[in-house]
Symmetry: C2
Subunit: 422 residues, 2 copies
């Protein structure tokens, strides 16, 4: 019986039992953390071979000396590998340092200071700049906009991607809208992969001439299943629609090789890349090409990356299953919350009763489980319904996840019951 179906007296009894359970759980003195989308040590160990795969012989065999200066757009053999990875041509890719977030931040800052191809003037010289922010989404995307003073317009994330009716209505009417944030595969945190229809509509919709899709393909090969849902190429779709400069694609090996010592890439039209590199050339002489060579030597090709990702999946699949199982056993029958069904990526998204997310986080903290602050999956940290929670199950071990989920499920129930019995 769901909580909505229960009588007031039954709910009061349930509240007393769940509160009692909360107090018991709180006495355990646990300290668990379900906030960080970080790989666990066992995942990192998978790539330890990368530490030793480049020595003097591999340096000597490289297309140019990767130890020296130069190569603003990356080592040629790394460009080939990651052009494959991003599904673009060899002239549509640049390979950079360890952070795709930095590539996104820097490209937005460049647009702010200098504009992009098609900009009448730098975005920072406009009265108003707005971004469409499908939410729940990735807090660090929103933080970049916030820091530059970009107005964020929330649109819903549906099961197949952003609410395109809303997106189209917005961009058609307002040329101060200069971008949209997208995590098109296993979206952070909802796990959604964009449908072909959404990709087509994003590519062909009316928008400002210097409108850009910030396409953060962070989880391009991060499948949990063996039959991943295909994602059509945004590059091809935008070319077909006559908007070849619209998408800016980002990716990295942070969750393939090492989170802090991977390789980040950007893919875009040659016009966009030429523009980026003109400014990048003021900022740096070039990226760490030895680390790029390490990745080329260790993974060799896309088949190597895909085989490696199956090892990741084998480690984290049981963790995702544990979260799901605990939710099914402890919450789903109550009808008070829905848990996402990610088939890849790093997160679960849970929607509880409106007005209970912040309380759930506080209750879980009392019982020793740290959760991502409520609201952080929305621009400015404000979830208008105070109902969304993000769970990150990759870093903790299975026993910790089981303990944490017991507390989280009980906290969700208690927060709901407090609301329903108030």
């Amino acid at each position: 019986m769901t909580y909505r179906e229960m009588s007031g007296a039954a709910l009061d009894g349930e509240l007393r039992a769940v509160r009692q359970r909360h107090q018991e759980l709180s006495t355990r003195g646990l300290s668990l953390d379900m906030t960080r989308g970080k790989p666990c040590a066992e995942q990192l160990d998978l790539a330890n071979g990368i530490l030793s795969c480049v020595g003097p012989a591999e340096i000597a065999a490289a297309s140019s000396d990767p130890r020296n200066y130069g190569g603003l757009d990356g080592l040629p053999e790394a460009k080939r590998l990651f052009a494959d990875y991003m599904g673009v041509g060899n002239d549509e890719i640049l390979v950079a340092g360890n952070s795709s977030l930095a590539l996104m931040y820097d490209s937005l800052v460049r647009a702010w200071l200098f504009g992009v191809p098609g900009s009448p003037r730098p975005w920072g010289k406009l009265d108003k700049v707005k971004f469409v922010c499908p939410s729940p989404g990735y807090d660090r995307h929103f933080a970049i906009c916030e820091s530059l003073g970009i107005e964020m317009i929330v649109v819903d994330m549906n099961g197949d991607g952003p609410d395109m009716d809303a997106v189209e209505r917005l961009t058609a009417a307002d040329d101060s809208i200069k971008g949209i944030w997208c995590v098109p595969r296993y979206s952070n945190p909802t796990g959604v992969t964009f449908s072909a229809t959404v990709v087509d509509r994003l590519s062909s919709m009316r928008a400002a001439p210097d409108f850009r899709i910030y396409w953060d393909d962070a989880y391009a090969v991060h499948h949990l299943d063996d039959d991943p849902q295909p994602l059509p190429s945004i590059v091809d779709a935008c070319k077909k629609a006559g908007n070849p400069d619209r998408p800016l694609l980002f990716g990295s090996t942070s969750k393939i090789s090492f989170a802090g010592a991977g390789v980040a890439v950007m893919a875009a039209s040659t016009a966009n890349l030429k523009d980026q590199m003109r400014h990048m050339g003021m900022q740096t002489i070039g990226p760490d090409k030895i680390n790029q060579l390490r990745h080329v030597r260790f993974f060799r090709d896309m088949a190597g990356i895909e085989a490696h990702m199956k090892k990741h999946a084998a480690i984290i699949r049981p963790k995702f299953a544990s979260v799901r199982a605990s939710f099914e056993a402890n919450v789903s029958g109550t009808g008070i919350a829905a848990l996402s069904q990610p088939r890849g990526g790093y997160f679960f998204s849970m929607d509880g009763l409106p007005g209970t997310a912040a309380r759930t986080v506080a209750l879980a903290a009392e019982a020793g489980v740290k959760l991502t602050p409520a609201g952080s999956t929305f621009p400015l940290g404000r979830d208008p319904q105070d109902r969304n929670l993000r769970l990150a199950p990759t870093l903790p071990g299975l026993p910790e996840i089981e303990q944490a989920m017991e507390i989280i499920c009980n906290s969700v129930r208690l927060a709901a019951l407090e609301k329903l019995c108030a």
Copy 2:
């Protein structure tokens, strides 16, 4: 006899002889490059041990897992090493990626977008922003200013640093002057190391409250001699003068370990670093800490770095000596040019007769030697006297340097003679 002392007829004879020699040299079909301040392969080989000095055991022994996310200001053991290197406290350093140029560019962009501690408003919101640019100087510093639209005020580089009478006069009178570019040790390209008096005057002079010294200590340990001239601490001097937030220090191991795969650092007051990191935290989750650990493991401490630099000096000292010897043998007697006497760093600076630098570069190119474009050591690429040339002797081999210098010296003479006989 110098050219100035020669009769018109003697000069005409000399012109014919030198032009004849130029034609002979030009037929050799050489292709030599004296433009790039890059280490040679033999120098890079010195650090090949860095490729293999970090494996799983060193990862496990690190203060935190350097493979994972985090550590915005760097790995703690790397911070300790580079605090020593920069001569600052452990809370006055951050260790970043492979490019100190990127640290400089980004910190200037942050000042532009958000201001610095003490700024009434972001620099980009001011009517006018100016930088003092001691010249000849480093073209990439000037290019950053140019790209942001910062007005550059040229002051002379003297034998002990910038012309401080001019600098003091400028900064005292004009609060739109927000910075000065300094390469305080073995300055690019003049080789000058700033005197204690210059350091004191920079620290204590009157300037805008948000004035910053961009102190690019690129050649901190890059001595050619065994008895380097000491450089007083700009950090200590500014603290003593009551201007603790004035200096921003930058350094890197690009010319210690690998030019493209070193570690870059920034040192500054805690107030400055806190401000930088607030914005850096929007841009990136953290630097490549594995590469930082490689540097810690390979060099261990300052003594290790200093011992390593002696090996560099042993390789490049003969190259510097060759440039000097060729100049002494072929040009200095003519009285038409002066060559710097660098005791470290990567460059020679040559001042020829006014109005001859561009012509010298063109003549050298005709004879197969690529030189840095005339003017590039001045803001906007404009040497007001068209007389300064930069020579970079580290990358070519000794035989190439000898061949190149023969051509360069003859080109300097020919350009001067064309002028004198015109």
